[in-house]
Amino acid sequence: MMNPQSCVKIQKEWDIVGARQLGRELAKEIGFGTVDQARIATAISELARNIYLYANHGEIRYEIIQVPEHKAGLCLIAEDEGPGISDISQVMKDGYTTSGGLGAGLPGVKRLMDEFEIHTEVERGTRIRTIKWLR
């Protein structure tokens, strides 16, 4: 069962804070502990910053996933209609962004979360879907 989606538009740097805020509230609601809340917030930061820096605008959507008697989790979808990524394998490599001080980058998001999927098309945009499961 999925709850109705929540969504935060990313247009200015300040929106990143709002996106983190909502993500943390939802994470708390689902029952994530302090460490995982912080990890989810950091992952949202990375996703939102990518949108802000490279695509100018886009959005982050949130879905609470509840599988009855099974597990719960938080799904984040970051979507933009920006320039896209021409070489995904390059940006998914460790050492690509952190060395330049740009932050944890997409490998960082992948580490902070449990599941990670990326679809991107040059000049069309990028869509990243990532899930953190409650353990």
Binding site: G33, T34, V35, A38, R39, A41, T42, D94, G95, T98, G103, A104, P107, G108, R111, L112
Partner: protein
């Protein structure tokens, strides 16, 4: 894993309480051990801070709220460190894998570039070539021609590491493919120059000394393509003379011309070919002088050529504290009859 963390968490709490009570060094030492165990199990910094917060709350149930918030703040600040730590971990593993791949490549290079030292009566040849890093940018090669002459190439790629090493394989296969009638030193350098000029990026150059020795007559013909000068040792006069010719390094210009010179060698005379890794050895901060190299060679001249080059290498290896700055290659040919 879960169990490990729970046990250590208990221990951490106990040590923390003990330290707050006593400020005892023993607790600090023990937490050092706990910390090492955490590192070994890839526990991230934010988890340790979380553990600290929980332990503190258990020891002080009525902890000041503002202090608690400050700890949450610290935890948040550590998330990125945790990520950076994980990334470095992965990069380290990749580096180990890469190193082992390079050492396989280095072995392969040695096999590819293997050349047999000719055993010809009346000639005693010794040669050593040691790379500064894993892959060797120096190269020597012997060719035994049907007219009984011995062709000797001594080369150095300007530039180090893997690209230099790959470049040398090309030189070897070019040398092997030349028809024998072209085997005069200037002709060989001319041909190699064209190969290098056409196939190698313009930022890579090769220097080479090519010598052709006729054991029956004792005649030595040689040509240099911008290579470190060699030396001729006259046994009767007990004197070293520099041997070199004019000629551009390989790969610079298509129309480079190579000069040829000749020497007549008598019994106990020596011809020494080397690369700049020998002449540019360092003694502390100081580059050694060539006469020091020649002195050392003379010091071991009672030995066979092979023992000589090995002893000279050991001498300079020791002088440089066993850390070579550059690939080291030294070849000695001595007429024994």
């Amino acid at each position: 894993m879960e169990n490990f963390f729970k046990e250590r968490a208990e221990e951490y709490k106990k040590l923390l309480a003990e330290y707050i009570e006593t400020q005892d060094e023993k607790a600090l030492y023990e937490v050092e051990l706990v910390s090492k165990a955490f590192i070994k199990h890839n526990i991230l910094p934010e988890e340790i801070i979380n553990l600290h917060i929980k332990a503190l709350k258990e020891i002080y149930p009525d902890l000041v709220v503002s202090y608690e918030h400050s700890m949450d703040f610290l935890l948040e600040a550590m998330i990125s460190y945790g990520l950076a730590h994980q990334e470095i971990q992965v990069l380290r593993e990749q580096q180990i894998a890469l190193k082992s791949e390079i050492s396989i490549a280095a072995e392969m290079q040695q096999k590819l570039l293997r050349t047999n030292k000719p055993e010809v009566p009346g000639v005693d040849i010794g040669v050593i070539s040691v790379p500064a890093n894993q892959m060797n940018g120096d190269y020597y090669n012997f060719l035994l021609n049907t007219d009984g002459s011995i062709g000797i190439a001594m080369a150095d790629v300007i530039g180090k590491g893997i690209p230099a090493a790959l470049c040398m394989s090309m030189i070897k296969y070019s040398l092997d493919s030349f028809p024998e009638e072209t085997m005069r030193p200037p002709v060989i350098l001319n041909n190699l120059n064209r190969v290098v000029e056409r196939n190698v990026e313009s930022n890579m150059f090769i220097t080479m000394m090519y010598a052709q020795y006729f054991p029956n007559s004792g005649r030595l013909a040689f040509s240099s393509a911008g290579h470190e000068p060699g030396y001729y040792y006259n046994a009767v006069e007990d004197r070293f003379t520099e041997i070199t010719t004019r000629g551009l390094v390989l790969g610079v210009s298509e129309d480079a011309e190579y000069e040829e010179k000749e020497l007549l060698i008598n019994k106990d005379d020596m011809v020494i070919l080397l690369t700049d890794g020998v002449t540019e050895c360092r003694d502390g901060e100081r580059f050694i002088e060539i006469h020091e190299v020649l002195e050392v060679i003379k010091q071991y001249s009672h030995l066979s050529s092979q023992e000589m080059v090995e002893q000279v290498y050991k001498h300079f290896e020791r002088l440089q504290d066993f850390k070579l700055q550059d690939d080291f290659s030294l070849l000695i040919l001595r007429k024994t009859v």
